[in-house]
């Protein structure tokens, strides 16, 4: 039995995104969850499932449940994962809904990734991962360094240029101008991009996402229950997660290819769609390069051709496949992946305002594609008929 259209997203909520929330991750989560429940038209007492992911930097779901007065959680997920897990928690909530384990599951991510645990790695303790001992002694221990390494390999092999990476940053900033939640809305030019300081070559400052304090929550239930609630439901048409390419000698020596390339065919098969059917895509953009490589690995263009594809305007609003219509993590803020789901749902409801992709029916939303951790996850979402 397929998971296709067996669960729906019925509520979305977000806090303000900032450099310093001034409050705890518990408070941020409470705000985002209450906003999502309000959006859905649900009382907190109806919630019987909570799902999150974190890297030792946020509130536990059980603590959060107690704080909301929930006395008997039927389902919880507290996944240790970075951004690669951001979409798997929603997929796993869909599984639990489909299995009848719980009726209303809230998926959330809450973090003070600038004012407390800096997601970019600056000043942060080393991550307890198997590869760290083989990398950190060389001064190589942060996500920008790891993605820069992959980006450089792509540039050397396929001739991808700095201007092509810059085009992603410029397009997304233009999208953010239409988004009141975005932290960075001032338009930038390619010259601004090229003049921004180096972080880790080939990445400049404007290749990197915004270390952000904030939280996002989405409510998942069955399609039947969804149709009795306030909003037009958004069906989870496909949900996949996977893992492959890692540090380990596992016969996958190509740094320009991510785990998304292995997973995408399964996702499309479950959903019964192809990349051509997708109206809008929110692609995990911890760095510009992760957008570029996913355009290839999800099959929007051929391997090695994403740079030219982006420069053609295909990924801008008005293009054939608008990408990161909210500005993405580069310009809206970095809520570790879940703000992509929020934007995908907004687009499918048709209430994304000036940045609305007209007639959007199917959206792809993706997690970190899997170079650093080897794991990834994604959702194909569909407007309910």
């Amino acid at each position: 039995m397929s998971l296709r259209n067996q669960a729906a997203i019925v509520g979305i909520g977000a806090t303000e995104f900032s450099k310093n929330s001034g409050v705890s991750t518990l408070t941020l989560a409470q705000r985002a969850i209450m906003a999502a429940l309000e959006d859905a038209g649900l009382e907190p007492a109806r919630v019987d499932g909570l799902a999150t992911f974190r890297v030792g930097d946020s509130v536990l779901p059980m603590i959060l449940a107690q704080s909301l007065g929930i006395k008997d959680l039927h389902y919880w997920l507290d996944q240790f994962a970075g951004g690669s897990g951001s979409h798997s928690i929603v997929g796993q909530a869909a599984l639990a809904i489909h299995a009848g384990v719980a009726d209303y599951i809230v998926c959330y991510r809450s973090l003070n990734a600038r004012s407390e645990f800096r997601m970019g790695g600056t000043g942060r303790p080393l991550v307890d991962a198997v590869e760290t001992q083989y990398q950190a002694p060389f001064g190589y221990f942060t996500p920008p360094q790891q993605f820069a390494m992959a980006a450089k390999a792509h540039m050397e092999r396929y001739g991808t240029t700095p201007e092509q990476l810059g085009a992603i940053a410029v397009q997304q900033r233009a999208h953010a101008a239409h988004n009141e939640r975005a932290m960075m809305r001032e338009p930038i030019t390619l010259d601004d991009y090229l003049a921004s300081r180096w972080i880790v070559e080939p990445f400049r400052l404007l290749d990197c996402c915004l270390e952000t304090d904030g939280a996002v929550a989405v409510v998942v239930t069955s399609p039947e229950r969804a149709r009795d609630l306030k909003q037009r439901p958004v069906l989870i048409r496909g949900a996949s997660w996977g893992s492959g390419q890692t540090l380990f000698s596992n016969e996958q020596p190509d740094p320009t290819r991510t785990s998304a390339a292995d997973m995408a065919p399964r996702l499309f098969e479950m959903a019964g769609v192809t990349p051509r059917d997708i109206d809008v895509a929110q692609l995990y953009d911890c760095f510009t390069y992760s957008v570029l490589v996913q355009l290839e690995d999800y099959g929007f263009c051929a391997k090695g051709e994403a740079g030219a594809f982006i420069e053609s305007g295909a990924t801008a609003l008005g293009g054939t496949i608008p990408v990161n219509t909210h500005g993405g993590f580069l310009s809206e803020g970095y809520v570790h992946g879940l703000n992509h789901v929020y934007e995908a749902v907004s687009q499918l409801r048709g209430n994304a305002g000036e940045r609305q992709v007209q007639g959007a029916e199917i959206a792809l939303s993706t997690s970190q594609p899997g170079y650093v951790s080897g794991s990834t996850s994604a959702l194909l979402l569909q407007r309910d008929a």
Binding site: Q133, F138, G139, E201, P202, P255
Partner: protein
């Protein structure tokens, strides 16, 4: 250069690897049954699932797959070190063994450039495998 830079922290799988390096030996486990090298060190072979392996010397040769130049000091210990180059090397022995290491030359690496290992002693306990161009000798300063 500051000595606050991170050191390796051997675990029960990696201890022989780091111990060999501290004695000037660059070795990896090699499967006793299918001859595949394992990286990073671990008990099982992911090709044939044998638990048997022997520590085997490497040629110390490889090629440059990619590199980065870090300008932002992500930790205080690197404030005086930036900018610095880190390379990703594919070992000559096996295509799917990719190692991160320091770069030992006064110029940028080149894609696919042949390199050899340069064992750099950090202290009495730890020696790190850096890389230098095959075509020229690194001049120690």
């Amino acid at each position: 250069m500051s000595d606050d830079r991170p050191l390796p922290y051997p675990d029960r799988d990696s201890e022989p690897y780091w111990n060999a390096l501290s004695k000037g030996e660059f070795k990896l486990q090699r499967c006793d049954d299918c001859d595949a090298f394992r990286w990073p060190p671990r008990a099982i072979c992911n090709r044939c699932h044998s638990f048997r392996a022997s520590w085997s010397s490497l040629s110390g040769r490889g090629r440059i797959l990619s590199w980065t130049c870090t300008h932002q000091a992500f930790a205080p210990a690197y404030r005086d070190a930036v900018p610095y180059i880190v390379v990703q090397v594919q070992l000559a022995e096996q295509d799917d063994i990719l190692m991160i290491g320091g770069w030992r030359a006064d110029r940028e690496p080149m894609a696919n450039e042949a390199v050899r290992v340069h064992l750099a002693k950090r202290n009495d306990d730890f020696t790190l495998p850096d890389w230098e161009p095959e075509s020229e000798l690194y001049s120690r300063s």
